[in-house]
Amino acid sequence: MTASQRQVAHVFVELADTLVDDFDLLAFLHLLATRCKDTLEVDAVGVLLADHNGTLNTVAASSERARLLELFQLQNDEGPCLDCYRGAAPVHAADLAAERGRWPRFVAVAEAEGFASSHALPLRLRDDVIGALNIFGTRPGRLADELLAIGQALADIATIGILQERTARDRGLLARQLQAALDSRILIEQAKGVLSERLGSGVDEAFAVLRDYARSHNRRLREVARAVVDNDPGVTDIA
């Protein structure tokens, strides 16, 4: 096993270890996005899920930078994620500069953020696509096939995580599951706002505080976010 193979194996073991009973889905997806970014040696990764309306929403990202979140969201109009979701197939934009005609707004914002390439891999569940893993690089170039295979495996693990949270075998439960994940994400956005105002910090820093607190107190991100928003005396030590 080479060093990098060992590293990849370690990532999969780490993620599998997280999938225990009563795990924290949002913390899991955040970890997955971060590990995906490091393993694939790319610059940003996001996990997007489609809701009951087919709208793509970000549930986790390797960075909470506001402009990056915006770039994910923008793809409800155009971009690799939308094409990946609609076409139920990977989309590779090795050189964003060559895609200005295809996605004019998306490419403009991506380039302004310093990105030069983007890939979108489907989150597949049998015949359905429930979202996409979105990858950004600051240099042009298509990811090597073996890296794309790892990326797709990570996308599959993300799907397993979503299904696992409360065994969503049928599509009805899946719809509920997706809704719950998206709702948790909005709660976290509200908590980021509350915390950033209290700390006088940026919203991305507020997320780090939230995540570290949840981690060190062994609590779910959603729970901590709820307590922050409710001004629960139990979490006054957070800020």
């Binding site: 309306n53 087919g54 509920r176 909005i186 706002g193 919203v203 976010a225």
Partner: protein
């Protein structure tokens, strides 16, 4: 992106409102939802604070009775959905599990011929305005399509409640429900971050902060996402000493 389901669902609500010669309201959401899902009835109960359950619209007297019963005895799928913030989907109210869970409510509902009941909290994150409830006279789960539609009707109900609480009239021509502002309330990270920030600045719950944000965007005719972005960037603040912005925002937009 205008997606098919949201557009289709809004059309059905508009049709019911037009037949009624009125602007779209919760009543029309319930009626349209009952029709789309072939349900025995659909009701909506408002929540003003945690635990409050206030029935407002039902498609038939049976629904109103059952909503009232939940409010009175403080138990039932709707109460549970409000507290947990998650949908409560009950395939059979006569099952032993349902009776154990809701000893007063479940038998009363079965007596009135209701067998399936599906309660959907209307809200996002900490922002919760009520619960939409679908009553069926048959047992069994909702189909995936019906479930998706129920989520979409619930979203619409939330936006209409926010409109009415924020003093924004949902006139068909300029309803915020089918515009970018409605979409932003449902999906935008920045809008919810801004609501969180404002709730601290003003010392009010996040739901009220969201109302203030929407009211101001509406009054000043700016996009909600743009206003939210300025708040997050700390270019404007709503605090007691927050410059030109004052407590009269809400009234100003009514």
């Amino acid at each position: 992106m205008v997606n098919d389901r949201a557009a289709r669902v809004w059309e059905t609500v508009m049709r019911h409102a037009e037949q009624d010669g009125a602007t779209p309201s919760l009543r029309h959401v319930c009626a349209a939802c009952a029709e789309a899902l072939s349900a025995a009835g659909v009701g909506f109960a408002l929540t003003s604070s945690v635990g409050m359950f206030e029935p407002v619209s039902g498609t038939d007297p049976k629904v109103d009775e059952l909503e009232e019963l939940q409010a009175t005895v403080g138990e039932g799928p709707g109460c549970e959905a409000l507290v947990s913030g998650e949908p409560v989907l009950v395939d059979d109210l006569a099952s032993p599990g349902s009776v154990t869970r809701w000893p007063v409510f479940a038998p009363a509902a079965v007596d009135r011929g209701v067998r399936g009941m599906f309660s959907f909290p209307a809200g996002r994150g900490a922002v919760h305005v009520g619960v939409l409830e679908v009553f069926r006279d048959v047992t069994g789960p909702l189909s995936p399509r019906d479930l998706g539609d129920a989520f979409a009707y619930t979203d619409l109900a939330m936006l209409l409640v926010l409109d009415s609480r924020g003093g924004i009239a949902a006139s068909p021509a300029e309803s915020t429900v089918r515009t970018g502002d409605g979409e932003a309330v449902l999906h935008s990270a920045e809008v919810h971050q801004a609501a969180g920030m404002l709730s601290v600045q003003l010392g009010i719950p996040v739901v009220d902060a969201l109302l203030r944000l929407r009211a101001r965007a509406f009054a000043q005719n700016v996009r909600l996402t743009e206003l939210a972005r300025s708040v997050v960037a700390r270019e404007i603040s709503f605090g007691p000493n927050g410059g030109s912005v004052s407590d009269s925002d809400l009234e100003g937009s009514a």
